[in-house]
Amino acid sequence: MADLRDLYQELVIDHSKRPRNFHKLEGANITAQGYNPLCGDRVTIYLKFENGRVQDIAFEGTGCAISTASTSMMTEAMKGKTKEEAEAAFERFHDLVTGVYPRQASDPPLGKLEVFCNVSDYPVRVKCATLAWHTLRSALEGTGDTISTE
C-alpha cells in the first residue's frame, strides 16, 4: 500500500515551504515560462548562462509541493552545469520519476534529487515534478516559448 510519507518526504516538504533560489534573478540573460494547465502551476526560470555554464539560476511561480520542491532542488543542482550536463541530468531525472532509473549501473547518481523516486507511483504527478525541467530545457534551447505540460 502506498504511503504518503514516501511521496512527501521531509526534504520535499522543506523545499516546498522554503524554496531555495526563489526570487527574480538580476542580470539573468535567459528566462523561460512553464505552465501546467491541469493544476494551474506556473513557473518562471531565470538563468545567467555565460561561458557555456549556468552561472546562476533562480525561479518564481506558484505550484503544488511536488512542483515547487522539484524546481527548488533543480536550481540547487544545476548551478555550474553546462547545457549538455543539464540535459543529461533531466533525462536521468525523467527516468527516475517514471520508474526506469537507473537504466545502467554506470549512470551517475542524482544525489538529493532521488528523493523524488516515489513520484513514479503517482503517474498523474510526473508532470508536477518535471515542469521545471521542461522549462529549463526550453530556456537552454532558447526557444522562448511557454512550455505547457498538456
Binding site: 500500500m1 502506498a2 504511503d3 504518503l4 510519507r5 511521496l7 512527501y8 516538504i13 515551504k17 491541469l38 493544476c39 494551474g40 502551476d41 506556473r42 506558484t62 505550484g63 503544488c64 509541493a65 511536488i66 512542483s67 503517482y122 504527478r125 508536477c128
Partner: protein
C-alpha cells in the same frame, strides 16, 4: 471513524430524510463496495461524474444482450424493440423535465454538445455583428467557449454578469446588462465549481421581458433538483446523463417546439432527413431533424433507466438528503482552521469547494486519495471563477444521493492528515 475536535453527531437514522435509507441506496451501486489503497472508497467527485446504479447497468446489459439493433429503420423485431426502448426513454426524459411534448427532447452527447447545437443553429441565425451574448461569471467552460466562437464568427460581444464574494450572482448588475443588443442569454442553473443555485426562473422572466431567449445549463442541477422547464419557462435546457447516474456520452437538449422548428439542422446525415436527392434534401420532423446518424442507443435507454431510478428514490428525498449532508459538511469543514470554503451562497447544492492555507489543492487531492477519498482538484473547467476569487485552484468535494455523514467525517479526518503532513 471519529473526528477529533468536532462534536457533531452522526447517528445513521437520526437525520435521515423520511422514507430514505442511504444504506439501501448504496447497495444499488456496486462500485462503492471497493477499497482504494486499502481503505473503503469515499466517492466525492460526483460533480465530475456520478456512479451508476444496477438498474442502469442492467438496462445497458439488457439492450446489448437482448435488443441490440439499429433504430427507426428496421422491419425486424429487434429493431422494433430497440426503437421502442429508445423512444420510451425520450418520453421518460420529457416527463422528468416536465416538457410539454417528447418532440422537444433532442438526444445529444451531453450538455456540451447541447450548447454547441444551440450556438451553431439558433445562435448563428439570431446573433449578428454588434449584438451581445449574456453569460454569468460562474459558467463552466462549456457554456463560455461555444459562445466565444460564435461571437468571434459574427463580431458579437460576450457580456458577463458578475457575482459577489459568496459566489452569488449580483442580480442588479445582471438586470443592467439586459438590453435590445442581447440576443441570447446562457446561464448555469447550478455552478459546478461553487454549488450556487441561480434564481433561474426569475432570471428567465427578466430576460423574456426584454425579448431575450434563455438557455439553461442544467448539468449540475438535474441530479439534485426537481426540474420543471414549463414552470421555469426556459427556452432551452441542457443536461448530461452521466452526472445523473446514467451513462457517459449521452444527454438531452430540451427546446421549445416553436424555436426548434425555426432552427436549421445542426449536423447532416442519416435519420435527420425525410428525402434526399443530389439536388435537395428535405429534413425530418422534430426531434429527428437534430439527430443525424446512429445515436448512442444504449446510452439513451440507460439515461431513461437513470431517470426512472431517481424518480423511484424520489427527487424530493434526494434533495433533502443531500441538503442535510451539505449542511453537515459545511459545518464540519468550517471547523477546520486554515480551511476556507469557496462558494458560500445561501442557495447551494452538492458542492463543497475549499482551499487549505499553505497547501496546494493537488497535494490535498493526492493525500486524500491515499485515504480512499476521491475528490476533484484544479480549476473545475471554470478558470474565470478561480480568477474571480484570486486562486489557481480548489479542492472540491461534491455530493450525491449515496453519500453519508460518515464519509464526510472521513473527509474531515483526511484533511486533518493533510495539515499534519504540511504543518
Amino acid at each position: 471513524m471519529t473526528t477529533p475536535g468536532t462534536v457533531l453527531s452522526h447517528t445513521a437514522g437520526e437525520h435521515a430524510a423520511p422514507g430514505f435509507d442511504v444504506r439501501r441506496v448504496r447497495d444499488d451501486f456496486p462500485i462503492l463496495r471497493q477499497k482504494i489503497h486499502g481503505k473503503p472508497l469515499v466517492y466525492l467527485d460526483n460533480a465530475a461524474t456520478s456512479q451508476k446504479p444496477l438498474a442502469v447497468l442492467d438496462a445497458l446489459h439488457h439492450f446489448y444482450t437482448s435488443d441490440c439493433s439499429n433504430i427507426h429503420r428496421g422491419v425486424h423485431l429487434l429493431s422494433e424493440r430497440a426503437t421502442n426502448a429508445y423512444e420510451a426513454a425520450r418520453v421518460k426524459i420529457q416527463r422528468f423535465l416536465n416538457a410539454a411534448d417528447s418532440r422537444e427532447i433532442i438526444f445529444v452527447k451531453g450538455t456540451t454538445d447541447a450548447i454547441n447545437l444551440v450556438a451553431h443553429t439558433f445562435g448563428r441565425q439570431r446573433v449578428q455583428a454588434g449584438d451581445e451574448i449574456l453569460l454569468t461569471a460562474m459558467e463552466h467552460h462549456s457554456n463560455i467557449v461555444p459562445w466565444q466562437l460564435l461571437g468571434e464568427e459574427k463580431g458579437a460581444q460576450l457580456r458577463v454578469a458578475p457575482m459577489n464574494e459568496a459566489g452569488e450572482l449580483r442580480m442588479e448588475e445582471f438586470e443592467k446588462l439586459l438590453s435590445p443588443r442581447v440576443k441570447i442569454a446562457a446561464i448555469s442553473h447550478v455552478s459546478n465549481a461553487l454549488g450556487t443555485v441561480n434564481p433561474v426562473k426569475k432570471m428567465i422572466a427578466l430576460c423574456h421581458s426584454h425579448g431575450i431567449p434563455v438557455l439553461i445549463d442544467g448539468a449540475q442541477a438535474a441530479p439534485h433538483l426537481k426540474i420543471d422547464v414549463g414552470d421555469l419557462d426556459a427556452d432551452f435546457y441542457a443536461i448530461s446523463a452521466h452526472k445523473m447516474y446514467g451513462p457517459t456520452g449521452i444527454g438531452a437538449l430540451y427546446g421549445k417546439t416553436a424555436l426548434l422548428d425555426s432552427m436549421p439542422p445542426y449536423q447532416g446525415g442519416g435519420d435527420m432527413i425525410r428525402s434526399v436527392t443530389f439536388e435537395k434534401t428535405e429534413f425530418n420532423v422534430l426531434p429527428y431533424k437534430f439527430e443525424a446518424g446512429t445515436p448512442h442507443i444504449a446510452g439513451g435507454i440507460g439515461m431513461g433507466a437513470a431517470v426512472d431510478y431517481m424518480e423511484q428514490v424520489g427527487m424530493e428525498r434526494i434533495a433533502t438528503h443531500e441538503h442535510r449532508l451539505l449542511e453537515y459538511g459545511t459545518e464540519l469543514l468550517s471547523s477546520i482552521s486554515g480551511l476556507r470554503l469557496v462558494g458560500t451562497a445561501r442557495e447551494k447544492a452538492s458542492v463543497l469547494s475549499f482551499v487549505l492555507e499553505g497547501v496546494h489543492p493537488h497535494d490535498v487531492g493526492t493525500i486524500l486519495d491515499l485515504e480512499g477519498i476521491a475528490v476533484r482538484t484544479g480549476h473545475h473547467c471554470a478558470q474565470p471563477v478561480m480568477d474571480r476569487f484570486g486562486i489557481p485552484a480548489t479542492t472540491r468535494a461534491s455530493l450525491a444521493l449515496y453519500n453519508t455523514r460518515e464519509e464526510l467525517d472521513t473527509l474531515a479526518a483526511g484533511i486533518r492528515k493533510v495539515k499534519e503532513v504540511f504543518n
